[in-house]
């Protein structure tokens, strides 16, 4: 029986010729990731396991990104645990303030993940690296501890849903709109325990940044991982960022899928997920008049350079609405610097937005833009659960950078096309 792309990678890393959906296996890991929230728990468990050494100091990555620069005393204490651990074990890929970025934007940029790798991370959006043709999945802290100690992880081989993408997305339709559309269609548990394998002619129309955004939100459909085939764009990206050897795996022609879903990219419109679930989507034409108090453009979903450029394109020469606090967070130091070099930062400031050092900050209601009771925000992040960005009575609307930027100007959820018409 044929295997899916994911199953091929898993079989190779389990030393097996073949694996089947539902089978329990243990795989070798190419990278184990943790952040400032999950690593301290993992470190405690790592010690309980009786481990004295990480399995490979080059294959553990610890990124402090959620609550740094330390937002309060408690988070300072948490970060200190990770800092000490990284020193003690000479962790090569430890990223602290000044080096760090939001983990899932940072790792590909640093060339730490390439096609064919197996990556686990104590952060649910670890599935992002599927954009590179790697198997990557979010796990918990105890799994991270076991991964650091043994270089292995247990898992149940997933079955898959195949998303057959065709056509070319129209103007203002981005990876974010595609994945929101998909989640709206299949629901937040539509891909529970499964791989989401994106294939078809339409893939080549998507930039790497689009693919990162799409794979990033596989978890919002319940997916174990989201994965893209490796093409010239992938290889070019990997060569630009990494010296690591990559391996290309392809699904067998007779691979079995639970479901095949066709998506015509040319038919999609900018899409917004209403509170309080990413599946609660509406096309931009049917959002109605929703006044907003805040816009956040950033996160591991949409804080990459393309997102910054689109935001600047829309904000250029305009002012954000006086009632809308507009917070722009480039996801890494490199992207931040690019924003300065390309003149994007100036556009943001002139428009009345602020630019922050890379951080998860408001995405999880940590700091840097917490909402009060009854306030509404349009954000490019990935979750709009109750209380995600602050008060349980606040509301988060998920959208693309283009929609978020247009909304910042209009003071309500807006279609970027409206601004074009005004020129």
């Amino acid at each position: 029986m044929g295997m899916t792309m994911t199953q091929k990678i898993l079989a190779a890393h389990a030393g097996l010729k073949e694996v089947k959906a539902g089978q329990f296996i243990e795989i070798d890991l190419d990278l184990v990731l943790g952040n400032d929230i999950t690593s301290p728990v993992a470190i405690k468990e790592f010690e309980k396991m009786g481990s004295t050494k990480v399995y490979d100091k080059d294959k553990v990555a610890i990124v402090l990104d959620h609550f740094v620069p330390n937002k309060d005393i408690k988070s300072a204490e948490q970060c200190k645990i990770s800092r000490n651990f990284a020193k003690k074990h000479s962790i090569t890929n430890f990223f602290d303030v000044g080096q760090m970025g939001i983990e899932h934007a940072l790792l590909p940029e640093k060339g730490l993940v390439v096609a064919g790798d197996t990556v686990i991370g104590a952060d649910s959006h670890t599935c992002t690296y599927g954009a590179l043709g790697a198997f990557s999945t979010g796990i918990g802290s105890t799994d991270m501890a076991a991964g650091m100690a043994t270089g292995q992880m247990w898992l149940k081989v997933p079955s898959a849903i195949k998303f057959n993408l065709k056509g070319k997305p129209g103007k203002w339709v981005s990876g974010k709109d595609i994945i929101l559309h998909i989640i709206g269609k299949i629901g937040v548990d539509g891909a529970l325990y499964k791989s989401m394998e994106f294939t078809g002619q339409g893939v080549k129309e998507l930039s790497m940044d689009d693919r990162f955004t799409i794979a990033n939100m596989a978890i919002e459909a319940g997916g174990k991982n989201g994965i893209f085939p490796v093409d010239e764009k992938t290889i070019q990206y990997i060569k630009e960022h990494s010296n690591k050897e990559y391996a290309i795996y392809e699904a067998d022609e007779d691979a079995v899928y639970d479901q095949v879903i066709d998506i015509d990219l040319s038919k999609l419109k900018p899409t917004v997920a209403f509170p309080h679930s990413p599946e609660n989507t509406r096309s931009i034409d049917s959002v109605g008049n929703i006044q907003i108090d805040q816009v956040v453009i950033g996160s591991c979903t949409n804080g990459r350079i393309e997102d910054m450029r689109i935001t600047a394109q829309i904000l250029k020469g305009k002012k954000v609405h006086p009632d809308v606090r507009t917070i722009i967070i480039p996801a890494t130091q490199k992207i931040y610097k690019q924003c300065l070099q390309e003149g994007l930062a100036e556009i943001f400031i002139d428009a009345g937005a602020i630019i922050s050092t890379p951080t998860c900050g408001p995405c999880l209601g940590g700091y840097m833009g917490i909402l009060a009771d009854g306030e509404k925000a349009v954000t490019t992040t990935n979750r709009n659960f109750v209380g995600r960005m602050g008060h349980p009575g606040s509301e988060v609307y998920l959208a693309s950078p283009a929609v978020a930027a247009a909304s910042a100007i209009k003071g309500r959820i807006a279609n970027p096309i409206e601004l074009e018409r005004e020129v």
Partner: protein, 164 residues
Amino acid sequence: MKAEGKVFKYGNDIDTDIIIPARHLNTTDPKELAKYCMEDIDKDFYKEVEDGDIIVALKNFGCGSSREHAPIAIKAAGISCVIAKSYARIFYRNSFNIGLPILECEEAANKIEAGDEISVDFETGEIFNKTKNEIYRAEPFPQFIQQIINSDGLVGYVRNKLGR
């Protein structure tokens, strides 16, 4: 192993931001986390929960973040077991890894109501509802999971593997 207690019942898609809001993640102390467990949808949960009590929910319980703080908070609050129609996968593995037994059972999830007194037999997967005098059967744990349970969670499993 058995669990026995009164039921707290919740609906579909209970996410990790509900189980333990991110604003409380600046600590890893289980006792501290337990105080805020479920507070955004059930602010009296921590006040009312007693040792051994059981959470019953519908589909996709534990969706969202990978934070192990979620099952840790539930366990530290005194909950002995969770029963749901289905779980988000990271929550599922985290629970076994930290030693919080969780069961999938559609019938139990549908029929059990808040406040029911129930008991669960982990060996047989049998769930007995004392209040309604009904029996439901959950899927027994897969063999590999049983190994982890027998090692008292993943820490024990890895200790054995490393020969510590």
